[in-house]
């Protein structure tokens, strides 16, 4: 769900080239931010390819990109601040939800449950995220500079067809793989009795998270499809003119 969802925040506002209410300082900062993030995810992409070529197998590639993944995915939390401060015209709540669900998967599932780190499902969502983010951040960079190549715009609104389900599958399988270990160790869980009269079962919580994908995934997916029609719709018009 986080895979293509991160793209919807801008999409929700029709991807207007954002230059309205911020100064040149904010513009420069945002360009630098988006360039750095593009570079970061490129580093992760290259890291994955190199590790695959070196080992000759898909297994355990997570370890080769663990640190940059954590750094750049966590760094994306700045985007919530950008919305809150107003230099990016997206909803704080929507952006917050998208970023935090990624951060949740990175830290509270993959990092916290060592046993799932060697699962192939991790590679599945990391790959989906990597491709999505490289396209997304370069899209923003070019938009800010008012020089958006059609290819990037097209990629952003087309790749999600595959990347989104791919990412969701990887995420769900990873959470599912983590369940038995969480139950066995009681990870992040609190039981009664205690002086705060509170309890929390992380295992049940993860199951609820998985269930929440059912209503949320289709909504976000169809939202992107609708945005695609709006943004790329004119391609069909050209062919009609012939």
């Amino acid at each position: 769900m986080s895979a293509a969802a991160a793209g919807t925040s801008k999409a929700a506002h029709g991807d207007v080239a954002p230059k309205k209410r911020r100064g040149p300082g904010a513009l420069a900062y945002l360009v630098i931010y988006n360039v750095v993030m593009t570079a970061g995810w490129l580093v992760i992409a290259v890291g994955l390819v190199r590790a695959y070529l070196a080992r000759g197998s898909y297994h355990g590639l997570y370890y080769s990109i663990e640190k940059p993944l954590k750094f750049f995915q966590t760094g994306a939390m700045l985007e919530i601040l950008h919305c809150a401060v107003g230099i990016v015209p997206s909803s704080v709540v929507l952006t917050g939800f998208q970023v935090m669900s990624r951060v949740f998967l990175t830290w509270a599932v993959t990092h916290s449950v060592r046993e799932v780190q060697s699962e192939d499902s991790v590679l599945l969502f990391v790959t989906a995220w990597t491709v999505t983010e490289i396209i997304r951040y370069s899209f923003y960079t070019f938009s800010l500079l008012n020089h958006l190549p059609f290819l990037i715009k097209w990629a952003r609104y087309t790749f999600f067809f595959v990347l989104y389900p791919m990412g969701v599958t990887g995420e769900l399988l990873t959470i599912y793989a983590a369940l038995p270990y969480v139950q066995k160790t009681g990870l992040y869980s609190v039981t009664l009795p205690n002086k705060y009269n509170f309890s929390f079962d992380y295992h049940s919580f993860l199951i609820l998270v998985m269930i929440s994908y059912i209503p949320l995934f289709p909504q976000l997916y169809f939202h992107m499809i609708r945005q695609r029609k709006k943004v790329l719709g004119h391609i069909e018009d050209y062919s009609k003119v012939e």
Partner: protein, 308 residues
């Protein structure tokens, strides 16, 4: 007396939905809504939004036709507000839930806790006290809904009842589960803590009620007038000197008291969420007061004296 002609168009499609001729100049929007309802029975007046401009604000039921900026052929735009439900119905439903649900946990009805605890009672007296306070609070709310509050709007969108009931009923169940749990841990500082909490709770319950009465007395029965509330002889209303919405201030106080009384984290969460929502409402109300009244007392804050 020259009569008006009124045409009502759909705000989105601009289709002509209704044409009324020979409308009295002193007819109100409310009366026009009733006439419109006759030709379109599925759109009862409460779900009609009538405006002068398709994207403009809704006109009020009390607005009089001849005082509006329209010619003798008036054009209005209609928007369907969706199915509506009365505020009274919503309040009664959303408050009865917590009352009943909490009691189910208190009496340890089967299928909540382990079977050996079915229909047993807690050995901690604070649990009985908490049940009395919680039940009193929601009974008070129900009675206020029936006999005290004077509502500006008759209705709200139907989907609100599902949203509101989920919130109230859900939190009530979550809190009640822990307070009435066989493994409940009573407050660390024992009797002292419970006594202090009870005093705060009762003080704020009386305060909240006093404010509701004061607000009711601002408005004659059946009217929708708005006036600035001021402190009365009742000392609990003197807080109006510092705060625009002291009913919310006292409500926060009550739940803080209940949190301290039960020493239960879910209650603290409920208090915090409620506080956030009430602050949003208080700020909105405070802003409307400032906009509507030139002479609004400058010392007042929305919900917390001097702070928020």
């Amino acid at each position: 007396m020259k009569h008006y002609e009124v045409e009502i168009l759909d705000a989105k499609t601009k289709d002509k939905l209704c044409f009324l001729d020979k409308v009295e100049p002193n007819a109100t929007i409310g009366e026009i809504k009733s006439m419109f309802h006759k030709s379109h029975p599925q759109w009862y007046p409460a779900r009609q939004s009538i405006r002068l401009d398709p994207k403009g604000k809704s006109l009020k039921d009390e607005d009089v036709l001849q005082h509006l900026p329209v010619g003798t052929t008036a054009t209005f735009y209609f928007r369907d507000l969706g199915a509506q439900i009365s505020w009274v119905t919503v309040f009664l439903t959303e408050y009865t839930g917590p009352l009943v649900i909490y009691l189910m946990f208190y009496f340890r009805v089967p299928f909540i806790y382990a079977p050996k605890y079915d229909f047993t009672t807690s050995k901690h007296w604070v649990v009985h006290l908490a049940c009395m306070c919680h039940s009193f609070h929601y009974m008070k709310r129900l009675l206020e809904t029936l006999f005290v509050h004077r509502f500006s709007h008759g209705t709200m969108p139907l989907r609100n009842i599902f949203k509101n009931c989920t919130y109230y009923w859900g939190f009530a169940a979550w809190m009640a589960y822990y307070i009435n749990h066989p493994l409940y841990t009573p407050p660390i500082y024992g009797e002292q803590q419970i006594r202090l909490a009870l005093i705060i709770f009762l003080f704020c319950q009386i305060g909240n009620f006093s404010i509701h009465i004061a607000l009711r007395n601002l408005r004659p029965p059946g009217s929708k007038t708005r006036k600035i509330p001021y402190p009365t002889k009742n000392p609990f209303t003197w807080i109006f000197l510092l705060v625009s919405c002291p009913n919310y201030t006292y409500e926060l106080g009550s739940w803080l008291g209940f949190t301290v009384m039960t020493q239960c984290l879910p209650v603290a969460f409920f208090t915090m969420v409620g506080f956030i929502q009430m602050t949003v409402w208080a700020k909105g109300k405070h802003r409307s007061y400032l906009k509507e009244f030139r002479d609004y007392p400058p010392l007042r804050s929305p919900i917390l004296p001097f702070v928020l």
